[in-house]
Subunit: 271 residues, 2 copies
DNA sequence: CGACCTTTTGAACGTATTCAACCGATGTGG
DNA sequence: CCACATCGGTTGAATACGTTCAAAAGGTCG
């Protein structure tokens, strides 16, 4: 990476207007709240850093960014410049097969990082789209690497986050390679619930932000199978669903369904 | 990572004898050939580094290590201390479900890195086993991070390698989530072939180092399906197989089978 | 309100799994 | 060195799971 370390406020400036659903310039709100005051700081990149270091890191976060529902954060083929941390809202990433089929590769909620798919080739491999009105913090990757080389904690934290991505991907490989439809869907619900709990939300009651088709695409089953399975879980009294609204009645029961082929490391590692 | 940067020559010393197939001390050959003279250097971690930097990096590689067929390089639960680069031979990594089932998560050949599954938690998540007599270079990760903070090229190269791991894992997610058995197996063969070519081996003729069961586990199908599919490919004149020996007759034909659901980025990204 | 999209549910179908038998290669011990 | 046990691989037949096709209901948004 030869890029000089300069502040890049005009993020993706050449791409505005390239597509109908791209981010437009007015969305850029210059200067976010400070990282040291952000309540996501523990889970975010500065995790484990000292006050002084966080201030230093803070300089990397040039912009906060609004992304409306159905807007792209980036697209496959876009030049990779930045990582994004979800500050509010909900995203999906997906890839497109040559034959046009779309496969969801992940859902990201508050505090999670988006954009690592661009690091290898300096070009994004995936599409990232907001599933609801959202906000992200934008971190210039070149600057980030520069700073990380001065702050070992940060470097290590980043390696851990990439490693966590890998763990997650591996969990998905195991889910897709070794679990049946019911198990996958149970694991998926438990994972969602788990991630919500961590963020202080209710564990057993939430709105699905994605469609059945997106869930199915992510889990490697058809949307009809998702629908049928959710109905079945409802009949069994494990959950209740009406459209996007989902309530888990028997988290232990779901665990039993998922755990008939459970992964070591539990729910975090899956889906 | 609070670990002080010290040379750790007595790699995994407390674990010798813990299991029957562990590496034993006599396997440690102190000091390998120099990285700058290694013909893997381009593809390996020092990729893109200058002569001077490579020398610096070279100091990280404390030991070369023999691992015999069926021996573990590490096991899930082991403390993570080092990354390993395959210098010769062939490995598989796998995870074990709670119910005892084993799932292969990857095959590694010459020049590929093993061990990143330990970074997140400082504990290995996977098992790594040699499928034939092999040799690895051992890189202390703490020292590595230290050095990487001084050599931006190295840091960036490492980020790229982790990112490549992610790309690969994502490719597998797509393969497992979106392809049918025939497609998976075709993609797998093409991927093997591709990786061999890169390393200067014949593209169309090689010995499978793994069993049908391991292939199946990796691809999310049963061993019988692997066997049947290989037989079918043979009948179609695409390949010929006898036991482990495999010859590809029609690489384009295989491509067509795999490409009925091809991934963007081609064969590299898959399997 | 009407058009469209998402979801649900049913029935027929197809692919991969399961169960089982058999073959061949490999390796060990008498 | 051969006999035998074991492991890996192949192949067939029955089964099960998830898909596909189809129709209709429920929501959402202009």
């Amino acid at each position: 990476m030869e890029t000089p370390v300069v502040v890049n406020l005009t993020l993706r400036k050449n791409q505005v207007g390239a597509g109908c659903s791209r981010m437009s310039r007015r969305d850029i709100t210059s200067f976010p709240a400070r990282c040291s005051e952000c309540n996501l700081r523990r889970a975010c990149l500065p995790g484990g850093m000292e006050e002084r270091e966080i201030d230093c890191f803070n300089r990397l976060v040039h912009t906060r960014h609004r992304v409306e529902r159905d807007e792209s954060l980036y697209r496959a083929g876009d030049t990779f410049k930045s990582l994004y941390v979800v500050r509010s809202g909900f995203f999906k990433t997906y890839a497109i097969f040559e034959d046009g089929r779309e496969q969801v590769t992940g859902f990201q909620m508050v505090g999670e990082i988006i954009g690592m798919d661009g690091i290898e080739t300096d070009t994004h491999q995936l599409y990232s789209v907001a599933l609801e009105d959202s906000e992200v913090c934008v971190i210039s990757f070149a600057s980030f690497e520069e700073v990380a080389s001065h702050i070992l904690t940060l470097q290590h934290q980043f390696h851990k986050m990439m490693s966590r991505e890998l763990t997650h991907a591996r969990g998905m490989m195991m889910l897709l390679g070794g679990m049946r439809a019911e198990e996958r869907i149970a694991a998926f619900l438990l994972n969602l619930s788990h991630r919500l709990v961590i963020r202080g939300y209710a564990a057993t009651e939430f709105n699905l932000r994605m469609t059945r088709e997106e869930i199915g695409s992510y889990l490697g089953v058809k949307l009809e199978t998702v629908s049928r399975t959710l109905s079945k879980f409802q009949q069994q009294g494990l959950i209740s669903v009406q459209q996007k609204y989902l309530k888990i009645h028997d988290i232990e029961g779901l665990n039993r369904v998922a755990n008939s082929a459970a992964l070591p490391g539990g729910v975090e590692a899956v889906a």
